[in-house]
């Protein structure tokens, strides 16, 4: 077990790299080259962490060089020269977008996700596509068709999932920022497992255009940062209305980096009792208490609150998400792109293609989703689940209406578990117990390191009202500063 460097050298932070590039100290190409070297040192590739699936160094360096010559504007952006990794289910123009699946192996998108375009327009260099649970279905990155990714903090353990590859490349120090995607905790949970920051913005805050859909009403692109500041810069760059996504919201985007140094005096932070159940690891509870103490010292009030429908989140999630997935994944039929396994006749070709193309967990969820939408079952499952989902959202609405500004909870019930430890899907599903609620309610939430247990990072989760990411970042910056090196111990 190798303890990560307690503090990252500032010159490899997003802010640090962009400043050096803007000042002309290094070129964007050099910044990209350095990222590849850091990645090689940490062995992020298939022979090591298996966190990075697809890279094209020459093309990436060419693109970074192009920035310097073609566009002064890009060279002065917030992310000038900053190397960023992108989850394999977010469309990029030159690298494959395979969603960790055989069915899309080698597929290169002819268009780019809006979030990626915005990163590039701010000067960022996309250095690679990261490993993930197939179609983002999983919590360990073990469901990848291209082999499991590993946790840089302990290579015998999972990095979490489904955005495990993105979390790992950030935790390994290769890049300060990576994009992930969330449906039920797929950014926050791996951020917690890898000891970094992971943000799931408000539903509608970031365009989903170019994010390969898993469960459209829950999916959001999220941001990993080595620090709160990295995550803040990343999110403020990609957030905001996009005409290509009808569910993206026309709500002004603050510069989240300006939340740094905000006072927490008068802030009311809720401690929802449902997130501190009896079975919670006592050491995780302890780290949370330490964080609450830090918030109090910063002038915030900690208030006990209740979100009574929390325990229904997982059952609801595992009806709504598979239902939407069963429909969203229907397009992978072997007709227009991706894998096609020819067979005798149309139905047989569909069956052969999809049987061979999809892994076990994806198949399970398609079947589950198809079942809950079927005539005769719709009311009992899908409709009921949507009704309960409303209750979960109401829980948040009521607690935030009662004068509570933010909630703070553990991100996960346990630290990173060993590879292969959770063979039972239900056990795996329970690792999203504290995160799925925010997706169901559409509220923003983020995880940041608040300590370690046996050398394994523990994440604390902040949850905010819709579109109040700025306040959430304010608290995150303050907690990060208050904990200092404690955050990793």
């Amino acid at each position: 077990m190798s303890e990560r460097r307690a503090a990252r050298p500032p010159e490899t932070s997003a802010r640090g790299i962009a400043e050096r590039v803007r000042d002309g100290d290094i070129t964007a190409e050099r910044a990209a080259r350095e990222a590849f070297v850091r990645g090689d040192d940490a062995r992020v590739g298939p022979d090591g962490l298996n966190a990075l699936l697809w890279t094209d160094r020459e093309a990436t360096l060419d693109a970074a060089r192009g920035h310097a010559t073609e566009s002064d504007f890009v060279d002065r952006g917030d992310l000038a020269g900053v190397p960023i990794a992108v989850k394999d289910n977010i469309a990029t123009l030159t690298l494959p977008t395979s969603c960790g699946s055989r069915i899309l192996e080698g597929y290169v998108s002819p268009f780019e996700a809006t979030a990626v375009t915005r990163l590039r327009n701010a000067g960022a260099t996309i250095v690679g596509k990261t490993n993930m649970d197939e179609f983002a279905m999983g919590s360990s990155t073990e469901n990848s068709a291209f082999g499991p990714a590993r946790n840089p903090r302990d290579r015998s353990r999972v990095p979490g999932g489904s955005s495990g590859g993105s979390a790992a490349v950030v935790a390994a120090g290769m890049v300060p920022i990576a994009l992930g995607s969330e449906t039920g905790g797929s950014v926050r949970q791996p951020a917690a497992f890898c000891g970094i920051v992971g943000v799931k913005p408000t539903y509608g805050r970031v365009s989903r255009y170019g994010l390969v859909a898993f469960a459209s009403s829950l999916d959001q692109i999220g941001v990993f940062g080595a620090t709160v500041d990295d995550a803040a810069i990343g999110l403020q760059t990609i957030a905001g209305r996009d005409v290509m996504d009808a569910t993206s919201a026309d709500v002004p985007v603050e510069r989240y980096v300006e939340a740094s140094g905000a006072s927490l005096a008068g802030l009311v932070i809720g401690r929802p009792k449902e997130y501190f159940p009896d079975f919670l690891d006592a050491r995780i509870r302890e780290k949370c208490d330490r964080a609450f103490d830090a918030f109090r010292k910063l002038g915030a009030e900690v208030r006990d609150v209740s979100l009574p429908h929390t325990d229904l989140a997982i059952p609801v999630y595992y009806i709504v998400a598979p239902a939407e997935a069963s429909s969203n994944l229907a397009r992978f039929d072997g007709v227009r792109y991706g894998l096609r396994v020819p067979a005798d006749g149309l139905a047989a070709t569909y069956e052969a293609t999809r049987s061979r193309g999809f892994g076990k967990e994806v198949t399970r969820r398609i079947l589950l989703g198809t079942y809950v939408l079927s005539a005769g079952y719709y009311d009992a499952y899908y409709k009921k689940a949507q009704q309960v989902r409303t209750l979960i959202a109401d829980d948040f609405r009521e607690v935030f209406a009662s004068g509570v500004h933010l909630l703070f909870t553990p991100t996960t019930p346990s630290p990173a578990f060993p590879l292969g430890a959770k063979a039972d899907p239900y056990e795996m599903y329970m690792s999203d117990i504290f995160t799925a609620t925010a997706n169901l309610a559409g509220v923003p939430a983020m995880s940041q390191p608040i300590g370690a247990v046996d050398g394994l990072p523990i994440g604390g989760q902040l949850i905010a009202p819709h579109f109040d990411e700025a306040r959430m970042f304010g608290a995150a910056y303050a907690l990060e500063a208050a904990l200092g090196a404690e955050a990793l111990r």
Binding site: Y209, G210, S216, S327, A330, V335, T370, S374, Y378
Partner: protein, 486 residues
């Protein structure tokens, strides 16, 4: 109808129709691809309508406007909130594996359509159950490549409305009348070109039979593959005959899909079992509910043009036109507008109607042109009517002036002058023509002058011909008569 089909007596036909209409938008329902008909295969496609991974639908605002106007024109109540839903099924020409449609919360409901009047003079109306928005699928081409099916996705994502009627029609003719009325309204409002050949209007018919006087509905079948209104009527008559013969023999109608086979003039069961499909509808999470505020609905309502029924009664009343003239002149909004332009500017509705029907329509039929492209504008035709009324141009000369106007697009005064078709009532000129005619036809002249009065018409005809119709026929008659007496 070309084939008469007779069904056993004592049975009543019950018909409900589902009509899909392509909205006349420039771009598709959920992307910016062109809706142009007849482009090379798969040219009008993009990541959205190809269902590439990560692409998302964005609703076309113009499609919403057209759909709302259609619903209002059909007397529907437009729902302030409707919800798009996914209809899930696998087919190669359905790229997403689902069709975006509307299900339990449609755009509009509870409309009515008057399709005619019965023998007692009361109106026959058909209830409209609902109007909802949806997207079209692509096209599978099975006969182009041996052993393979080709897919053309140009049509995938083209905006449609589905108009579902109540089972209120009691005959094939009523179904035909419903369709013709519906089409006329949709064309009036500019919703669609309703061209069945291009697939921009499609009809599925639900038909059942019950004993006369029975209240309960019989088991229905759905008849598809109907490519013209007259085929709808034919297929309904055939299917009704099939059902009633079956019922007469004590058989039972099976709920199934029937296909109309035009070539063989029969309806036969479809091989695919439509009823066994479970479409697993659920709300489309990529599109927020469609919320239409009262102001928008009001604007759409006030932007509706006068509908055919209203226009028909106004033409009959204001212009005192006969039923035939009214029917012809209101057969399209453009033609009705044209006629009204001529009528208003000439102040002579009767002449305007005659000229529009006998002159304009005849010319359009001959050339195959659209009235929008017709060179004689209403103001010009009105001017011609005025010239005739003022006696500047005679009736027969006017026809020649009109033909020349159609050809050149020139104003009637210009044409009449240029072609020498202005009426000549100058005595000297007329006498000159009469003298010439009498000289050229000595035999007739002699007999006429000798008192054979019936030859006067023949001689006037010669004079008119000589003058290319410009001679004042009345005056020629007088002059000839005085010559005979003289």
């Amino acid at each position: 109808m070309s084939t008469m089909v007779s069904a056993p007596a004592g049975w009543e036909m019950v018909v409900g129709l589902e009509v899909h209409v392509q909205l006349r938008t420039r771009t598709k329902a959920f992307c910016n691809c062109s809706t142009e008909y007849g482009a090379a295969p798969n040219v009008n496609t993009c990541p959205v309508c190809l269902a590439l991974p990560g692409a998302l639908p964005v609703l076309n605002a113009h499609a919403v406007e057209l759909a709302t106007r259609a619903a209002l024109a059909l007397g529907c109540t437009v729902n302030p909130m409707s919800v798009f839903a996914r209809k899930n099924y696998f087919y190669p020409d359905l790229p997403k594996g689902y069709q975006i449609s509307q299900f339990d919360k449609p755009l509009a409901e509870h409309g009515r359509l008057k399709i005619g009047t019965n023998a007692e003079g009361t109106g026959i109306t058909v209830g409209i159950t609902r109007v909802h928005m949806e997207e079209d699928a692509g096209k599978s081409v099975h006969d182009r490549y041996a052993g393979a099916t080709a897919i053309d996705l140009n049509r995938a994502g083209v905006p449609l409305i589905e108009i579902v009627s109540e089972p209120d029609m009691r005959s094939a003719e009523a179904a035909g009348a419903y369709l013709r009325t519906l089409k006329l309204i949709l064309q009036y409002v500019g919703i669609s070109d309703c061209d069945m050949e291009k697939g921009s209007l499609r009809v599925d018919a639900n038909v059942s039979a019950r004993r006369a006087g029975e209240v309960k509905l019989g088991t229905k079948t759905e008849v598809k593959n109907l490519n013209s209104f007259s085929n709808v009527e034919r297929a309904l008559a055939l299917e009704f005959a099939r059902q009633t013969e079956l019922l007469e023999r004590g058989g039972r109608v099976e709920q199934q899909t029937m296909l109309f086979d035009q070539a063989r003039g029969v309806v036969r069961p479809s091989r695919t079992k439509e009823g066994s499909h479970d479409y697993r509808y659920f709300p489309e999470p990529d599109l927020p509910p469609l919320v239409l505020d009262a102001g928008f609905i009001e604007r759409m309502q006030t932007s509706l043009p006068e509908l055919p029924e209203a226009r028909r009664s106004r033409f009959a009343g204001d212009y005192a036109l006969g039923e035939y003239d009214v029917d012809v002149l209101t057969s399209s909004a453009e033609l009705a507008d044209y006629f009204e332009g001529v009528a208003r500017q000439s102040g002579d509705a009767k002449a305007a109607a005659n000229w529009t029907i006998n002159g304009v329509l005849t010319a359009l039929n001959a050339s195959g042109d659209d009235i929008d492209a017709f060179r004689v504008r209403p103001a010009d035709l009105a001017a011609l009517i005025t010239l005739v009324r003022d006696g500047v141009v005679g009736h027969s000369a006017a026809k020649q002036v009109f033909a020349e106007m159609v050809r050149t697009g020139d104003r009637p005064e210009q044409v009449a002058q240029r072609e020498g078709l202005v009426r000549v009532d100058d005595d000297a000129a007329l006498r000159g023509w009469i003298d010439e005619v009498l000289a050229e036809h000595p035999a007739e002249a002699q007999r006429y002058l000798a008192g054979e009065k019936k030859l006067q018409g023949v001689l006037v005809g010669f004079v008119m011909k000589k003058s290319k119709g410009s001679a004042d026929a009345k005056k020629v008659n007088q002059l000839l008569a005085s010559r005979a007496q003289g």
